[in-house]
């Protein structure tokens, strides 16, 4: 219990730190962010300086000459109330834009993560049982290559070869825009068809890391006395592999969950940009090229919150599965 509360506090604190970073990054930006925005509104919309200034103040909740501390508090409350600022390219609410993209990215990443995790642990346990053989060394090599290949490069190669040069898969969008979105088989199959290459890019570049981690974890578990005892009791090898080796070897892998998800989110900026897939990654990519800071910061914040919450979920799962954690042995003490 104490352990989960501790994780919860750290999760909230992480989000708080990220909010603070984004706040001060904007405020500390040389050349004053507000002045920059005022200049932008003057040139883009042909407003007078006073007009532009008032617009910007209203948009970003700024009271002129307000102490920075008060601004900070206001910013915090604004975020909690869903006021994440406005994108200055589309003039829409940042949160609205991002929440539109989130489900697509979440779909892409959760499916890819699940599949690569599953492939990884199966391969890993297989390699651990066959350690030292030719097959093990071949699969380890493959896993290392998978782990080493940057996802954005693989994404680009897949796009070039399988969508453009040999147009087997669609090169853009998350579904066929001529189809009406809905729960139709047509729509769902179109979504799956369009997400195949992006997912392949994620899966092929992340199963290797899981496989290598699982392999060394499983080898460690295979050397434990309780596995030998289970073998001596004559339990079926399949059962030992599943309930004794598999279960105990998988647990330590949960700790790398956040890192892996964060890595994939980073990759989504490339992959969704390359495949013109309308998720958060593409939004951030576009925001970058337009230097739309509120949108960039908002995107970063939303990604962080997603990663932190998913990680908290993984931690809780870990806590439920591993009775040792409940005793609070791993932290402090």
């Amino acid at each position: 219990m104490r352990w989960i509360i501790k994780r919860l506090i750290i999760a909230i604190f992480t989000i708080y730190i990220v909010i603070t970073i984004t706040f001060f990054l904007i405020r500390l930006m040389p050349g004053n962010f507000i002045d920059m925005m005022v200049y932008y509104y003057m040139t883009t919309y042909g407003m007078s300086e006073i007009e532009a200034r008032n617009t910007v103040y209203a948009l970003y909740n700024v009271v002129p000459n307000e102490p920075i501390f008060l601004q900070y508090i206001k910013y915090l409350f604004g975020l909690i109330n869903g006021n994440w600022g406005k994108s200055y390219i589309s003039n829409k609410s940042v949160l609205e834009i991002l929440l539109y993209g989130l489900p697509w990215t979440a779909f892409l990443l959760s499916v890819s993560l699940t599949i690569s995790f599953a492939i990884g642990i199966l391969l890993g346990i297989f390699m651990a049982y066959r350690r030292g053989t030719f097959l093990d060394s071949l699969l380890s090599t493959l896993s290392s290559i998978s782990r080493a290949t940057p996802n954005f490069i693989l994404g680009l190669l897949l796009l070039y070869f399988l969508a453009i040069y040999y147009p087997i898969f669609p090169a853009r969008d998350s579904y066929d825009i001529t189809i009406e979105p809905g729960l139709s088989i047509q729509f769902i199959s179109s979504v799956l068809y369009h997400s195949f290459l992006p997912m392949l890019a994620y899966i092929l570049t992340s199963f290797g890391g899981w496989a290598l981690a699982m392999r060394s974890s499983a080898i460690r578990v295979l050397g434990e006395d309780y596995v030998m005892a289970a073998e001596a009791r004559g339990l079926k090898p399949g059962r030992i592999a599943r309930t004794y080796v598999g279960r105990n070897a998988v647990l330590p892998l949960f700790t790398s969950f956040a890192i892996s998800l964060g890595y994939m989110f980073g990759g989504s900026v490339f992959i969704e940009t390359y495949f013109a897939y309308q998720g958060i990654g593409q939004i951030i990519g576009l925001a970058m090229s337009w230097r739309d800071y509120p949108l960039i910061q908002g995107g970063f914040l939303l990604i962080t919150i997603t990663v932190v919450l998913s990680n908290l979920l993984a931690d809780m799962l870990y806590g439920l599965l591993d009775p040792r954690i409940k005793r609070g042995g791993t932290y402090g003490g």
Binding site: R2, K326, R327, G328, G332, G333
Partner: protein, 332 residues
């Protein structure tokens, strides 16, 4: 008779631990212990695992600071509390008091070769002027503990050495700074039985040569008896010393009921004698936890002689027939 080298006065050690519910619990690992070890003498400290004997050893070495009580060490003609020494005096004490630990496989860093672990003490105390001289001294010390030819061992790592060889290296490392007092914490308990006597004899020989005072910590009464046969034994139970006296007196005529039980539990190889001997009269075989120690005499939950007073009042060490015993029921 020589004078005491190190004295403990009413030493207690309380650890605070966090339980799973986030509460703090206090563990009295050592409670109100007073004892002394004379120069060039041996005290064997015997007790079940978890009774606080290793903690006591670390307190005597200055590795742990007792929560109350004093550790007095004889420096420059005076007894000084080791926790209020001047820098210079502390350096002397630090050089005098050494440890031979339990697990031979972790007495030297598995990442480092024998020679690189043995050289630094010689240089630190300027016993050797340079590395070359230190190497020669390492060779001498390795020879002294029976590792010949010493050069063969210089560049080996602990994973390429046997437990016996490693324990010899641990002894060499401890005596390299010419100490006066050594704590040997279960120094042979992890070795094969066949090796134990060999290492014990080596330790005894070196003790003789260097004139060392030794605190010999063990859970094995037979080994304590062998090692401290001309000296003293202290019996410890849940943080308290329950009996101290000359080894042969205690073995032949144990007074404290716990000592009796310990001696009875030593297996006898001859089944005829074993069958005839009186079995220890214990009310319970369960050792109480240090977190919830029994009131009064901590042994009363298991003692067959226990009466009301034992539950209420903790006995103090009393002199009975030339030895110290902490029991209400003995000697009345």
């Amino acid at each position: 008779m020589s004078k005491p080298l190190i004295k403990l006065e009413n030493v207690s050690m309380v650890f605070e631990i966090h339980t799973m519910f986030g509460e703090k619990k206090k563990i009295k690992a050592v409670e109100d212990v007073s004892l002394e070890i004379k120069e060039n003498d041996i005290l064997a400290l015997v007790g079940e695992s978890g009774c606080g004997k290793s903690t006591l050893g670390r307190i005597m070495l200055g590795l742990l600071k007792p929560t109350s009580g004093k550790v007095l060490y004889y420096i420059n003609g005076k007894y000084r509390d080791i926790w209020s020494l001047s820098k210079k005096e502390y350096k002397i004490f630090r050089r005098h008091a050494q440890l031979i630990p339990q697990n031979p496989y972790t007495t030297i860093n598995p990442m480092r070769s024998v020679i690189s672990a043995l050289i630094p003490p010689f240089l630190h105390y300027k016993i050797a002027r340079n590395k070359e001289e230190a190497r020669k001294m390492v060779a001498e010390h390795l020879k002294m503990v029976g590792l010949v030819p010493p050069e063969d061992f210089f560049n080996r790592y602990s994973c390429r050495l046997s437990g016996g060889q490693l324990q010899r290296i641990a002894i060499a490392r401890a005596i390299s700074v010419k100490p006066k007092f050594i704590v040997a914490d279960e120094a042979v308990s992890m070795l094969d039985a066949s090796l134990r006597i060999e290492i014990l004899d080596l330790l005894l020989r070196i003790r003789e040569e260097y004139g060392l005072a030794v605190l010999f910590i063990t859970h094995d009464l037979a080994i304590a008896r062998y090692f401290a046969r001309k000296n003293k034994i202290a019996i410890m139970y849940l943080g308290n010393i329950v009996e101290i006296g000359n080894t042969e007196d205690i073995i032949k005529n144990p007074l404290h009921p716990y000592t009796k039980a310990l001696i009875m539990s030593v297996p006898i190889p001859d089944p005829d004698i074993a069958r005839k001997r009186e079995l220890p009269k214990l009310r319970s075989l369960e050792v109480p936890s240090l977190m919830n120690p029994p009131s009064g005499c901590k042994f009363h939950t298991r003692c067959s002689l226990a009466t009301e007073i034992c539950e209420k009042q903790a006995p103090i060490l009393r002199n009975i027939n030339g030895r110290l015993v902490a029991c209400h029921k003995i000697g009345d």
